[in-house]
Amino acid sequence: MIKVYTSSVLEAPADTVWAQVRDFNGLPKWTPFVAESRIEAGLAADKIGCVRNFRLKDGGTIREQLLTLSDYDYQCSYSILESPMGVSNYVATLKLTPVTDGNRTFAEWWAEFDCAPERERELAQQIGQGVFQGAFDSLKNLLRK
């Protein structure tokens, strides 16, 4: 089991950031690598247990299930059901915390998963920097507009 942790500071109040990221079907709106997304079985995107099925811009398809959604704690967890990444037991959490000094947001995103030992370093880099930090950077640009 390895753990990847990424965090950043976003120049907007936590409510504003949360409004952007709480939509489990909203990845195409704020991440740079998702081409399109839908929720399976016609469920609402904030129904616990719903599955998002999305296609990456480079072609792969991922299915993820919503495990936790807290509007009180600004927190969302999900697991991967299917992906081309070669990971198993993958659970990730995205959490926002207000920074009262400057009315900004502390954003954390972490994941735990199993993979082949020789791929740990590559996957940690790809997920921590490529996916999580990449999404934060994209979010920063979006919030600046």
């Binding site: 965090s7 950043s8 500071v9 920074v99 502390f106």
Partner: protein, 481 residues
């Protein structure tokens, strides 16, 4: 229940910030609102269960206990045990998190507590703004300055100033105002730019050679206030810019700059000005130990204070009266009698030739004084013995008329004699701190007040000595560098 949450991003790696925050006693180094602080019973500052005992610079006193400490999660949880603030069930948690984007630190500080109804907003503001936001700003400044607990920025050069030097043992004429340098503070030392210097009768004894604490030529003076310039290695409780005061040997306080052991230096609360501090540090701590430690004055006791209009005398009268004692005092003039009366001395006795025993007995229905605070010495010894109540306590803390020839025979009164010296009481830093804080508290409560009517330029120290020895002064005397 009130919940207060504040958070900030500190532009430093988490290891750097945690190293400071995990030390439960470091707050006096970086938090601008925190004054003196120490961990009780000499326990390590990262021992769960240890208690930090500290003063805020506004004078409030707080004891807090460390409940949890996690180096893995960067969490420190603590509660208030006692406070002079009306806060109940206060539990606070500090948590740090790593901001991987930029290698910075997210600092989350949260507490819950109760206060009297109607004061919620006031305390939310005090804790949120004063303590937490003030702490964020203080830690940022501390890190910018170098951020090492217990080491300031020490300038290796000696600094040129001026001092009053006793060129020989003798009269006031031996005092000269001359250039003098203050060396850079070594380990455990502090260098102070002094703004007010206290004059005490002990300075006269030292100048005369009666107490051999110097070998001329040397600077004299035991007490001063000022601002910290720099500190040496291992000094944890002082930072450059702190307003401080001290009252301790070795002599050398009559100076514009001073380097001395930081152990004896205390941080001043905001409301105690430099001149007040120089006027009351030595005299106030003297009154504190005489009334609370050498003899514990109780309501109804008859207390005889000699030189009742002097610097220590006025403070003894004020404080003894507040403790419920019946205060008698000796003075040398009508004017001084009036002043002593205004300061709590119920029966001032004008005794120009050390004759007072009859008057003391008259005012105590023949019984005499339960405790005598005697700064007079040899010439008044016979009268003091006569004025002492049976089983009374004679506290001889000074000797203005010369040292006692031999211990008096106290068997006629089953009396107790004490020969206390302030600096024995203040030698232990924890006790010094307690004594100083009691003086500051008494000032704040208006139990005592500094009577400061004589100010001289430092260069005119000889004139101050002449006036003090000729009994021309009342209350405290300070020199201004």
């Amino acid at each position: 229940m009130i919940r207060v949450t504040r958070s900030a991003v500190i532009d430093a790696p988490i290891g750097r910030v945690w190293e400071l925050l995990r030390d439960f006693n470091s707050h006096s180094a970086w938090h601008p609102a925190v004054g003196e602080s120490q961990i009780e019973n000499g326990e390590p500052a990262d021992q769960v269960g240890c208690v930090r005992n500290f003063f805020l610079k506004d004078g409030n006193h707080i004891r807090e206990q460390l409940l949890a400490l996690s180096d893995r999660d960067h969490i420190s949880t603590y509660c208030i045990l006692d406070a002079t603030l009306p806060m109940q069930r206060y539990v606070a948690t500090v948590q740090l998190k790593h901001v991987t984007d930029g290698d910075r630190t997210f600092w989350h500080w949260q507490s819950t507590f109760d206060v009297p109804r109607g004061r919620e907003r006031e305390f939310e503001e005090l804790v949120g703004k004063g303590v937490y936001e003030g702490g964020f700003a203080g830690l940022r400044t501390f890190l910018r300055r170098g951020g090492v607990v217990s080491t300031g920025i020490s300038n290796s050069e000696g600094m040129q100033g001026q001092a009053v030097i006793a060129t020989a043992f003798g009269g006031p004429e031996v005092l000269r105002f001359e250039p003098a340098s203050a060396k850079a503070p070594g380990p455990g030392e502090v260098r102070i730019r002094q703004t007010a210097v206290g004059v005490n009768y002990i300075d006269v004894y030292i100048r005369k050679g009666l107490y051999r604490l110097i070998e001329p030529p040397a600077a004299i003076g035991m007490e001063a206030a000022g601002t910290v310039l720099d500190v040496g290695e291992g000094v944890a409780h002082l930072l450059p810019g702190d307003r401080v005061a001290y009252a301790c040997p070795p002599p050398g306080a009559y100076a514009t700059l001073r380097t001395l052991s930081a152990d004896q230096v205390v941080v001043l609360p905001d409301e105690v000005g430099d001149e007040t501090a120089a006027a009351v540090m030595l005299k106030g701590m003297t009154a504190e130990y005489l009334l609370h430690r050498t003899h514990r004055v109780r309501p109804g006791q008859a207390v005889l204070v000699h030189a009742a209009a002097g610097g220590v005398g006025l403070l003894l009268c004020q404080w003894a009266k507040a403790l419920g004692a019946k205060v008698l005092g000796t003075v040398s003039s009508e004017e001084k009698a009036r002043l002593a009366r205004e300061n709590g001395c119920e029966f001032p006795i004008i005794a120009s030739r050390y004759e007072f025993a009859d008057a003391v007995k008259k005012h105590t229905s023949g019984r005499g004084a339960d405790v005598i605070y005697d700064g007079l010495g040899r010439e008044a010894a016979a009268e003091n013995l006569d004025a002492l109540a049976t089983t009374g306590h004679w506290v001889a803390y000074g000797q203005a008329s010369g040292p006692h020839d031999a211990p008096p025979d106290l068997s006629s009164k089953s009396g107790t004699l004490s020969r206390p010296v302030l600096f024995h009481y203040t030698a232990d830093r924890a006790r010094l701190n307690e004594m100083a804080q009691n003086v500051f508290l008494a000032l704040r409560n208006k139990t005592i007040k500094a009577m400061l009517s004589h100010r001289y330029p430092l260069a005119a120290a000889a004139d101050a000595h002449r006036d003090l020895e000729a009994r021309r002064t009342m209350g405290s005397v300070v020199l201004l560098p």
